[in-house]
């Protein structure tokens, strides 16, 4: 069974649309994260959630909003998509803050 799973794997949409990416972890971890990997493969933290509380928020546009319905899920909602949002988005989880993180296989978002 996949420890951290993301859906969809690929997402192609037009500029201005609103989309969501789902993430689920079955590791029993308390903290979940979203990272963005750009075309040059640079990985950058976007958000982290611990016990359903947002604990960090990098300089990410407020068009991006994480939502956690329960400890095992952290979904990423993106409003008014822009060309620059094209990237691979990775979900990750860790037992708690500051502990080893396990990543999903990513969602490749392409904006037309």
């Amino acid at each position: 069974d996949t420890a951290v799973s993301q859906t969809p794997k690929y997402l192609v949409t037009q500029m201005g649309n609103d989309k969501s990416i789902k993430c689920e972890q079955n590791l029993g971890h308390d903290t979940m994260y979203w990272y963005k990997q750009d075309s040059k493969k640079f990985l950058k933290i976007m958000f982290s959630y611990n016990n359903k509380e947002l604990i960090i928020n990098e300089t990410v546009p407020n068009r991006f909003s994480p939502k956690s319905p329960d400890k095992a899920h952290l979904n990423l909602h993106i409003n008014s998509l822009e060309l620059g949002d094209s990237a691979v988005y990775f979900c990750a989880s860790s037992p708690n803050r500051g502990q080893p993180q396990h990543f999903g296989d990513g969602t490749r978002l392409s904006i037309l």
């Binding site: 951290v4 493969k41 933290i45 604990i55 990098e58 502990q99 080893p100 990543f103």
Partner: protein, 114 residues
């Protein structure tokens, strides 16, 4: 502003050779230094990690060397195999749960030639 500098950007090593990737960090508060391995179409996978209270950690063919005074750490892959061909990322973090999560280097594309 990049807080973790990784080199080289790409590396070609013959099968059986030693692959060496280097990283330097700026934030002296960082106290957890993992290496991640990423294959095409997959997420980064934790390979090995070290904390600054030791200077070296070995797991199988993979070794991390850590130099706290120089703020540098490196990954050594012994007896490199074609299956090791991947992109490798070093990272740094505050293990106490600092606000920034993992700060990654820009990655090294490693190719092991058979």
């Amino acid at each position: 502003q990049q807080q973790v500098k990784q080199s080289p950007q790409s590396l070609i090593v013959q099968k059986g050779g030693i692959s060496i990737i280097n990283c330097a960090y700026e934030n002296t508060a960082f106290d957890y230094f993992p290496w991640y391995q990423q294959f095409p179409g997959k997420g980064p996978a934790l390979l090995i990690a070290i904390r600054p209270d030791v200077s070296e950690k070995k797991e199988g063919r993979f070794t991390i060397s850590f130099n706290k005074s120089a703020k540098q750490f490196s990954l050594h892959i012994m007896d490199s195999q074609p299956g090791d061909s991947a992109t490798y990322f070093c990272a740094s973090m505050l293990s106490g749960g600092g606000a920034d999560g993992l700060t990654f280097g820009k990655g090294t594309h490693l190719i092991i030639q058979p």
